[in-house]
């Protein structure tokens, strides 16, 4: 059973690597930030899958931290770089 979970985690990691193409191409900073937002969510999903595969429920806390970090990163991006009055 854990083979399916690990396989799905690997599949999501491949997705993540494909998403890096959008970070490279842009064209605007917002496009790059969207890819990063998708990375954050994918990381949460990967960590949850690994936690189940290893039978380590404590790792769920790591997923929570990833979710929080992604939220803070996006808001900081809009506030400091992309928002009104910035170039």
């Amino acid at each position: 059973m854990s083979a399916l979970l690990l396989g799905l985690a690997a599949f999501l990691l491949v997705n993540l690597a494909a998403g890096l193409v959008r970070v490279m191409r842009g064209p605007t900073a917002a496009d790059r930030m969207l890819a990063v937002q998708l990375f954050g969510t994918t990381a949460v999903a990967v960590v949850l899958l690994l936690a189940e595969a290893q039978q380590e429920p404590g790792v769920h806390n790591v997923a929570l931290v990833f979710a929080l970090l992604a939220a803070v990163a996006s808001v900081a991006f809009v506030q400091r770089i992309w928002g009104r009055g910035r170039t």
Binding site: A18, A35, L38, T41, A45, H60, L68, A71
Partner: protein, 101 residues
């Protein structure tokens, strides 16, 4: 775990992975920031939701399942807020939504 619950869990997990794939393809293929936003939020909401639901069926306790639900809700809230902020600030910067040529 009964076979029916097991099968439902596998189906939910595969469905979630499918949404993540769709989100990545959309991120790569869609023409502008607003349509990419649309693709990314599908992966955030439906993809992670289905995966969390599939894993919740395997959880040892009700508390474990509830924690998965809470993680999903946090991501939902965060991604909705962030997407709204990015879309509005992009409009304020004068980035025009893409129109079919």
């Amino acid at each position: 775990m009964t076979a029916a619950v097991e099968a439902a869990s596998v189906l939910l997990l595969l469905g979630g992975a499918g949404f993540f794939l769709a989100g990545t393809v959309g991120l790569l293929r869609f023409p502008d920031v607003y349509s990419r936003l649309h693709a990314v939020t599908k992966a955030d909401n439906a993809g992670l939701g289905l995966i969390a639901a599939g894993l919740a069926l395997r959880a040892d306790s009700l508390a474990g399942a509830a924690k998965l639900l809470l993680i999903w809700l946090l991501v939902l809230l965060a991604s909705a807020t962030a997407s709204h902020l990015i879309a509005r600030s992009s409009l304020e910067r004068g980035i025009e939504p893409w129109k079919a040529p």
